[in-house]
Subunit: 416 residues, 4 copies
């Protein structure tokens, strides 16, 4: 294994680590280490909430989670010679949960998937599932099972939910400006349209004093994916993948975290992946002036990993951009179309004995694919959701006999 | 091969066939044939425009196409015993261009991809590419090349762009009502928000007289995918695929057409697939009462084909729901995110010598995948576009040397 | 579709075609057509036995087949400019059973798999299954079922069992010499060690008179694969595949036949594929001097097709080079190891209700993979056989409950 | 990670571990631990030679290796309730090189591939490559590169070369008897036909005194795969794989070792894999009476792993059972056919600048597939070798321009 250049003691908060990480995007978070192009190294990471969620049967911790802590990132790592306009080439050599340790933090043999409550972040189907729910997953090598979701076992597609370079000061200012403009269109919305900077529970790495205060006050929240990558939740950033990140700040300043043991396209429950702490092994290189050479200005480009789990049979669900509850047509709305495909899938799996919440948790975390199938056939966008049949230990294909219903247990719910 | 129960003479318009098809959705279009559950049969089809587009080097025909003819469908086929509430099981046994014939219609050895003009239908990137363009493809077995897109050769993922069952009278009324409501929000928009019924060039199959007039006046336009399937443009409805269609009308009344030799997820140029006439071999069966048994009410469910072309290396592009041209943030807008991913891809391939139009045509027709990667990270939806590197006869991966630019010719443009 | 340059009337023997093919390898069989490098064309083919086998429930025709007729080949096609030392590049553009025809020949909607009797050719397991058996397959697009093998349905991997260039006169002489030397080591063996030239039922294409007599007397039998390709039975020569054939004779003289709707690695029942007449669409090109350039002297090189059926779960069987019946050890004998893997698989599937003959027929024709797993661990070669679980409509995985046995019918047997 | 029930200190020989393993098969090697059905556990392993090979540029250590030490196995693990006739279900949950350690043993960041000398074990092509050679590989997550094989980089398919249950006393006696009978047919052969028991450097685990002496004198050598599995070198026993082992001895007594970071089908250089120490995480279960239930008597059955590296384009090589050097025909000899395919591949890659030894080392270790393509076409067996084109950083496909030759360095050779 390569040298660990960001280490984490999983028994402690990210704040208490010998070298703490950060949870805001800002060009002035100090690099924790400098590496040369060609270097290979390991980052150890905390789960995104800094271990606010426990391995238990109550969803109260999900309901009550404080999101101003998120996402706890490991880094930034400076790359010698990286300048704005370059492409930072990042190979994902390996990734996994916390190795060779015993303890209670997420990633130490287990992970979790949460449905967030509507009044605390919500999720893709929050109007249908407004309360908090949780499933705990046990790791078995590259496979998982959950006591909250019996009948399901699958190989994960492990990846960093969040990885990116630092923004420039100018870019940071633009982010905050454009997101505030959006928030201002409906400032009281629940859940909110966006998350503005807040110093509450902000962590600025090794910065101290006024510098730290400034970073915490200005730093962009980590929730959305942006020009620097960030929280893109692309499940195909897996082993063997290569990402070309735009460099916006001197030394590139690469940070990563929010590892997912597995996730379906969309990560639909908001905390839809199997969340964990762990490690990620990276190789970095530079293409000098690569942004201009390849016409890359606003987002990373990547080559997906080639060691995905291999499934070849799917139950697939279709959605179009019609709200069937009210029979209202929307114009080419792929978000709505995918939502309807997800709702259709949930309704389907309920017929086999799962609760809606359970099915929702499965769709968020299993290696499902979500595709934009048709995006020009006015007025209806058409999205499709592909669920591997092999993740179930029973036959989920439609037959003349109808679905075999069984008691599928229950997921963790809130109390009190 | 199975019995042909809907035959087409490719030298004639669909209107002039011995048994004509139809180009509107209506429960009263008479069935052209009745089959039993378990039957296998072949439908022959015209290309969606009824051969308005020619194998030449001008895009004028695309610019001037009359869309009230579209989509010319073969059918409807009645299935004995099918009643509302059943699921119609449709296996796609085989599909292909016009076999063993010589002639000038699309599908007779060639197909086309068009970018539609903004003032005549438009497309996914119509604000960026408002004019009409075209590429002609030559078929080589299951592969294609185009004189308008040198450097590209790939195996297609052949499928019916349009296949579905008939709506009930009630469902048809709801469609027309909800789509008109949408259109009414901006009735003068160019391109329009939707297409209301029109008798212009409507074709009601074997219906005659007043019955035909009524069907043409009421019948829903075929452009959008809806509860009955229809123009969903799901590229994975390919050989070996199985679709479970809801049955809304007596005898199910299955129709199909708009065959695509190949298409990328989204079919982004509107006429983005490689359009052709051809044949499709189907097997049908019934799951009585299947809609209730499996909780299927609003859309088909399917199992994708298992003979897709096999590619394993991709250049992938990311987009988030920010309009970078104006630096404006939108809330969880997957449509915008996918549009940005497409624009990023086009910009990338331009560096290798293609024009933007050429790159756009490639993305519409090649077996690219479009995924909804993140749909909960407020406010930015994240979509990704996967382009197989193996479709190019040169290396499209980023390197320190920069892209190898070459003269890539040009696509068909308009004149006069 | 491309121009047909070798056409077949399936109601007639290959001998009675307007332009007959050939069933021996000889450089002097006259070319039936000349094509230029870059050409695309279609060959129509008869099944390998020239339709000696019928769509019925008796294996008598398999038992009594006259193999001196085999293999009926379409060609040879001359390629302008091809000279010894070149590589002939052959793309397999498309391939399939007899299209759009009605009739009784194999390939007209059906095909067959035969187990040959030990005293008439035998097969890989002829000491275990010495009698003749047969299964008839019905084609459903790219899938097949058999009334003789209920419970099985799969997508075929269609390919030419036999395709190759003509030998030079010198090479032909060497073939006949070395094979006779092998035969001479045990000339009375049943089945024989090899098949020497025989004029019985030999067919020399358009050659006539003494020239035809000489070709028939000298021509090499078509059964084995040799330096020119020939009857290699490589299932991966499928759609999208490219083969680089050595050129040994002027004009290359390419011939093909013995099409298989599907076949497993090894084609273990001798006539183990699903045999059919049909068509194959090819594109040819030349690499001048390619044999020396690429060090290719004794066999073709190829790039396998990329539209194989996609299966991802397998039951796999192991065999080592020990004859367990007699507990005798053989040295690194991969043939024996694969035979034991096949016997192990047959024994396994018998527990689900199939007869041994049925299981043997399935292994010959389904898209199974046969791998040489270990070939250095003295003294035991280790081979493995991969059977896709998805070809069965019941669960074939081992469970604590044991196999679900059922009545699986029976295959065609001999009588009288 | 699961509990480590067999631990290894990589700085010490297997003989000096706190709990030593074993290097002979014998039912009386004491179990090092007992587990229950359903248990998950980790075994740590030494490389197969017990670290006789070093990370250096000389092949002298390969030339001089003492094979009586091999293979150092971790175990045996007893499974409660396992009795002869049961099937032991073994899931391969995870596997990898030595984690989180620094040191000089194979698996600590590096591995090796060796070509063994003809007078010390030899290999598949030992008549062509009689001397010793070596390549050192550097691990980069799931990928490898070698300073001895520039231009190659690939994702490994990691697996245990050796895993199996203990034989019964009776089975052991039969093994020794039948192998001695083979050896006796040519007792002076170099390399030998088989390896009889020898007490030299034998290791009997925790057995002591006379019991240990008896085990060492009687124990079967570990080189060949046999009825209990053992050294089968099946590369598809990878992550996610499930093996069903016959149980021959009370408690099953499972042992494993000889981990391979990667290996091609056949492991053709004898030590053809990338050899390493490491860990393997297993889950075990029982199917009581499973051998009879499923007709399994002589070999394991398995379901291959589903997280293999994904490659989709191959250069494939054909061989038939003719010795072209002497133009001698052999009868259905798959071993020879695969050897010819390997020789053809080596000749091909030499044209790109590799030495024959280098090409041989690549074929042994890269994820190549070796298939038995035709095994009934008398007299020529036909085998094929599939090499992924993506493992090379240059284009290895044939073109009219001929191969791009370059200086490809050299592998480690012997001296003195």
């Amino acid at each position: 294994m390569p040298e660990v250049i960001f280490s984490v003691d999983q028994s402690k908060s990210m704040r208490e680590q010998r070298v703490p990480g950060h949870n805001r995007w800002h060009p002035d978070v100090p690099a924790v280490a400098m590496v040369r192009p060609g270097a290979e190294f390991r980052l150890e990471t905390r789960d995104w909430t800094d271990a606010q969620i426990g391995n238990n049967d109550s969803a109260n911790d999900v309901r009550d989670v404080d999101l101003t802590h998120a996402h706890m990132l490991s880094g930034p790592i400076g790359v010698e010679g990286a300048e704005p306009g370059d492409l930072l080439v990042v190979d994902i050599l390996d990734i996994g949960p916390v190795p060779q340790q015993v303890g209670e933090a997420p990633g130490q043999g287990w992970g979790y998937t949460g449905i967030f409550a509507k009044n605390n972040a919500g999720g893709f189907l929050t109007d249908y599932y407004p309360d908090a729910y949780k499933a705990i997953w046990d790791m078995h090598g590259q496979q998982v099972t959950s006591r909250h979701l019996p009948g399901v076992r699958y190989t994960g597609i492990t990846h960093p939910g969040l990885i990116g370079t630092a923004p420039s000061a100018d870019m940071l200012a633009r982010w905050n400006r454009r997101e505030q403009a959006l928030i201002d269109t409906d400032p009281d919305r629940v859940p909110p349209l966006g998350l503005p900077p807040t110093a509450d529970h902000a962590l600025a790495g090794q910065a101290t004093g006024q510098e730290a205060q400034r970073i915490c006050a200005e730093g962009a929240r980590t929730v959305p994916g942006r020009e620097n990558g960030g929280n893109q939740d692309i499940k195909n950033f897996t082993r063997g993948g290569r990402v070309f990140f735009p460099v916006y700040a001197k030394d590139a300043k690469l940070s990563a975290g929010d590892l997912h043991f597995s996730q379906g396209d969309g990560e639909i429950t908001f905390c839809g992946a199997i969340e964990m702490g762990g490690f990620i092994d990276l190789h970095v290189d530079l293409i000098k002036g690569g942004m201009e050479k390849y016409g890359i200005s606003t987002n990373p480009v990547f080559m997906p990993g080639n060691v995905e789990p291999r499934y070849s049979e799917f139950m697939s669900f279709v959605g179009v951009s019609v709200d069937h509850d009210t029979d209202t047509n929307y114009y080419m709305d792929a978000t709505l179309a995918y939502r309807r495909a997800c709702l259709n899938a949930i309704e389907y799996f309920k017929r086999f004995g799962y609760s809606g919440e359970q099915a929702y948790l499965i769709l968020g975390s299993a290696p499902v694919e979500g595709r934009i199938s048709g995006i020009v056939d006015i007025p209806n966008a058409c999205c499709t959701l592909y669920v591997p049949t092999g993740i179930f230990d029973f036959d989920v294909r439609p037959t003349a006999d109808g679905p075999k219903t069984a008691d599928r247990g229950k997921c963790a719910v809130t109390s009190g």
